[in-house]
Structures are given as structure tokens and as C-alpha cells.
Symmetry: C2
């Protein structure tokens, strides 16, 4: 259920530059919440510990707000013009993580307790609602930008619902989740908000005519990023991802590499299906499942598809925004780490 999370180096100068631009506005927006919500928001955004004390640590990767700001800049405006869009998409992202952790009963997030573990389910649920309401407030007065944010919200929630519905379906055979269905789901679940970041960014940067294409570009980027996240969810370094090793396999989560492996015909796919049906619970079984996914070609197929979507997104970007060097570098770097 998690939207993708990525390990950009915190020193990455593009991200640092973008964060300096939007973070003061984000903090100001959060400060308008009820003090209790503001405290929970500060915790979940990585600014405070569970006692409300200032905390310097795992803030998010700020990919979505950076895309909004860099799209405005590439459209010829001052990046600062897109700050309301940047704040809005970061708040929607934060909302989705808070609710996802409640839904999935995930106890850890960014190397710290999930918000519901730290503050209780009811307060965390309501804090998530507050983050969403605050996101909507950022763009409510813009009839050009708001429909993109609204579409992203719909797609995000629909995608999460589809992802949840996948859990009850069989691993293989009739009724199994196809890789096409999975890709469609990620277009909404991860792509929608990246599409909104890009589209609302160019709208606020004065390039409304580019918005429909930037929306499509962002959605394609989202698929590439989600596939990268799926790969790292199986083979990534837990000290980087902030989640236990192989957590997706351990929880029996249907991700692209696994579904692609199961769609093949060989012995590895059959063994993998049997292992997953039995519930790959212990460390050795999980490691064995990861090897079978790789052997059946699931990892290679996920990498190839991520590259395909990234290329398509970068082509659109180059065609629309030829001066988008920073944006291009940011997007490319998010995918590079899977190779």
C-alpha cells in the first residue's frame, strides 16, 4: 500500500535548493492547524520527535514538491511561483503515508514509529484528514491547478483501493493479478500525485498550456518510480529504505517483480508460487523467494519496464521543457539506483 519512497542523497543540491524554497511555507501551513494536529504533522513530516521536540533526521525525500518547483522553473518562471503546488503535493503525500500505515498496520516509517503507533489510531486518522484538508486549501482558489490536485486525490485513493483488493486474489491461475492490472494501479497510486506535481507546477509557473502533457509525464514517472520501489522493497538495503529487508515478500505483497516472475512458465515460477501459497514466513524462505523471483526474470522485467516508462517521461519532458536540466537530473537519479 505504500506510495513509493526513494533514497535521494540528502545532500543532493537540487533537492536542498527546492526544500529551502517550499519548507518555510509548509511549516507555516502546518502551524495553522489545531496544536494537536500540528504536533502530529510535525512528527510525521520529520521535524519533531514524538514529544514535540525539534528533530533533525528523516524528513521525506521531497521529490514531489521538487518536481512542482522545477516544472515551474523550466516553464520560465521563478520556481517560487509554484510553492503552493509544492506544499499541496507534499501534504497529500504525507496524508497518504499516515493513512496507509494505519490500513496496513505498519509500525515503522522512516526509521521511526508510524504516526498511529506514536499517537494512537484515532488521532492519527484525524491528523491524516487534517493534512489532506490543508493540501486542498493550498490550491482551492485556482480553477486551473485544483482539478489536477483533485484528480490525483481520486487516483491515489482508487489506486490504493485497487492495491488492497489485489491482496485477496490468487498468486497464479485464473483470477491472478496481471502485470497490466498492476501497472494500471501504479499509474493511479503513485503516478497521479507525480502528475499533479508536474501539472500544477507548470500551471502556477504560467505554462497552463503544457499542463496536460506534464500530467501524463508525471504519471509515467510515477510508474517508473513505483517499479524502482518494488525492486528495492525486495533487494534494497534496509538501512537505506528504512523498512525491514524483504518486507514486501514477507508480507506477501503483490509487487511487479513477483507478478512478472509468476507469469512465466519455468520451474522457478512454479516453486515461487508454491512458496508464496505456503506463506514465506521465515528469513530463509523469504531469501529463497527473492532468488526465485530473480531466476524467473521478474527483477529484469521490472527494471526494463521502469526504464521504458522513465524514457517515455523524459522524452515528453524534453519536448515540453527543453531547459529542464535540474528536473531531468532529479528524475534520472531516482531510477539510477536500481541498476
Amino acid at each position: 500500500m505504500d506510495a513509493a519512497e526513494w533514497d535521494i542523497p540528502p545532500a543532493d543540491e537540487v533537492i536542498v535548493r527546492c526544500r529551502r524554497l517550499f519548507e518555510p511555507a509548509l511549516r507555516e501551513a502546518v502551524s495553522a492547524l489545531h496544536p494537536w494536529s500540528a504536533r502530529m504533522a510535525s512528527f510525521t513530516l520529520g521535524w519533531a520527535d514524538a514529544h514535540g521536540r525539534p528533530y533533525e533526521g528523516n524528513v521525506g525525500k521531497s521529490v514531489r514538491p521538487a518536481i512542482a518547483l522545477l516544472c515551474a522553473e523550466a516553464a520560465g518562471a521563478d520556481a517560487a511561483s509554484a510553492v503552493p503546488a509544492a506544499v499541496a503535493v507534499e501534504l497529500v503525500h504525507a496524508f497518504s503515508l499516515v493513512h496507509d500505515d494505519i490500513i496496513d498496520l505498519d509500525e515503522r516509517r522512516r526509521h521511526r514509529p508510524a504516526l498511529w503507533k506514536a499517537y494512537g489510531t484515532g488521532p492519527a486518522l484525524l491528523a491524516g484528514d487534517a493534512l489532506l484538508a490543508l493540501a486542498v486549501a493550498q490550491l482551492a482558489g485556482s480553477a486551473e491547478a485544483m482539478p489536477y490536485l483533485s484528480s490525483a486525490l481520486m487516483e491515489l485513493v482508487q489506486g490504493q483501493t485497487a492495491d488492497m483488493a489485489f491482496e485477496d486474489r490468487p498468486w497464479r491461475g485464473p483470477g491472478a493479478v496481471t502485470v497490466d492490472e498492476y501497472t494500471e494501479m501504479t499509474l493511479g497510486k503513485t503516478g497521479g500525485l507525480l502528475g499533479a506535481a508536474a501539472a500544477t507546477g507548470v500551471v502556477l509557473g504560467g505554462g497552463a498550456e503544457l499542463a496536460p502533457r506534464m500530467w501524463r509525464m508525471g504519471r509515467e514517472l510515477g510508474v517508473a518510480f513505483q517499479l524502482a520501489d518494488d525492486i528495492l522493497g525486495i533487494w534494497g538495503d534496509p538501512t537505506v529504505t528504512g523498512k525491514p529487508a524483504d518486507s514486501d515478500l514477507r508480507r506477501g505483497k503483490k509487487t511487479y517483480p513477483v507478478l512478472a516472475a509468476l507469469a512465466t512458465d519455468g520451474a522457478a515460477a512454479r516453486d515461487l508460487a508454491a512458496l508464496l501459497a505456503a506463506g514465506a514466513a521465515d528469513d530463509e524462505a523469504v531469501r529463497h523467494a527473492a532468488r526465485l523471483v530473480e531466476e524467473a526474470g521478474g527483477r529484469a522485467e521490472a527494471e526494463a519496464l521502469a526504464d521504458h516508462y522513465l524514457s517515455s517521461a523524459l522524452d515528453t519532458m524534453d519536448a515540453c521543457l527543453p531547459d529542464a536540466a535540474d528536473l531531468r537530473a532529479l528524475c534520472g537519479s531516482l531510477i539510477d539506483r536500481i541498476h
Copy 2:
């Protein structure tokens, strides 16, 4: 934590006329959701049972959408022009009930299981998010109406947070919740969405210049309605309210009549404070607490304040919309039943 729920007679012709106008659009909006979310939405909106079969029973009271439609009509437009506003406010209301029941662990709603009891907490949480996203989508393209919906969302969530924060405060003495704080909370929690119903209704009806005053009017109506709900939550007929008798007192919920009673000086207030501090758990203790609230004047004070806010709202309505006979009748009838 519940937003106010009211017992308008289902045959009330104004409501029936309004429902005929907006319900087809509401059903169409819901049908665009993921099938799973659509099924949960149909259950919570009273159109289907927990197995997805058509159900004729407790649909909501449709007060908010009726206000939106009647405000457009009173502004001189066809009531149908405000259908997107009516759908939006009804969806926000449905969202808030779904999340409230999760937060409060309330197992019953409108004489049926709460959504989370019927479908599980995670799915219900996500269905609530879907209802909210769908609400935002209705007005996302209107830069005049959307800010009112957005403000209502913020106020609703902030009001619910304030209401939840009240739970941890003492019944009496320093730190006790004052009646003014409580009134302020209801202005947001119940008033915000009624304000948005009225304001977005007149905006879509072509009366944008009236919107700020209709917003204020709706907020005052909201306080009156919440106070009526508080009164019925203690002295109402459970077969009408759909909640167990005295449920607010049993749960130790801080409502206006109780806070007003505790703010007095007599023996009744002292006895009431002692009873509440001990936790009025059994039927006899709860009935005794209700008698003490009445004896200390809490009920009379709540009635008087409800009348005050209703009068103020109706005065504004008369000044802005002199032809609002149906709207006036609807609002008046909602309060009448407490006398």
C-alpha cells in the same frame, strides 16, 4: 465526535423534492469509484445492505444538500444549478461520519452497523478518503465555490480535533472546557459544512455576492443544530435518533447541556460532577445524571442558545433571500423538535 444528525420526517416534502434533484447525481458520482469503494459508499449512504443488495431504509436526512439547493433557488436560480454543491456537501458529511465512527469506535450508525464494523477498519478508512476525494472533485473547477468547501473541510477536521482534545480535560475546575470553547468548536465542526452548503449553493445559483453572508448564516445554523443534537443525545427517543438512549452521557461525552450545568453553582452541579467523575456507567446513574443536568439548568440554557443562533441565522436569511420560504421552513423544523 459525531456531526449532528437530525430526525426530519422522511415525508417532508421539501426534503423529498431536494432528494429527487441531487440523488441521481450523487449515485452517478459514487458509481465512478472503485467497485469496492462504491459498495461501501452505497452501504454508508443507505442504498445497499452489507452484501451490496439494494436497501430501502435509513438514508441520511439530506439537510446539507437541501440547504445548498434551496439557497440557489432562493437566489433566483433553478435549484438544479446547485446540484454539484449538494453532492459535494453530502459526500463530505458521509466522509466525516465514516471516519468519526472509526475514531470513536461507534459500532452503530442509522440503526445499522457502522461501516468499519461491516467492512473492517482499513477498507472503511479508505472508503472515507474516497468519499472526500469525490467531494472535492465536484467543485474543483469552481474558483468561487471551492474555497468555501475547502474552508469547511479545514473547520470540520479542526473542530473534530478540538472535540477529541476536550475528552482529556476535566469536567470542572481549572482546565475545564468552557461553554464558549464548546460553542466555538461547534461553529467549525457542524457549522463549517452548513456554511459551505449555503455559500456554495448561492454561488452556483449565481449569487456569489451573497456567499460571505450565507456562509455566516450556515455556521450559525450549524451551532443551533448541534445544540439540538446535544439535547436529543441526552433526552431524545432512541428509536428516532438511532443511537442508544443517553449514549452521550454514558460515554462521558462533553456536550453543551452538561458543560452549562457544570458551570452553575448549585448542589445539582456538584452532584453531577461527582457522578461524572466516577463514570456514570449503569442505566440508573445515567438517568440520574440526565436529571441533574436538567435540574442545574443545562437543558434550558442549551435550548435558549439554540434559539438564539437559529434566530440570528433566520434574520440573515430573510435579509439576503427574502423568497426563501422552503429554506426557512426546513431550518425552523430542524430546531422545533427540541421544544
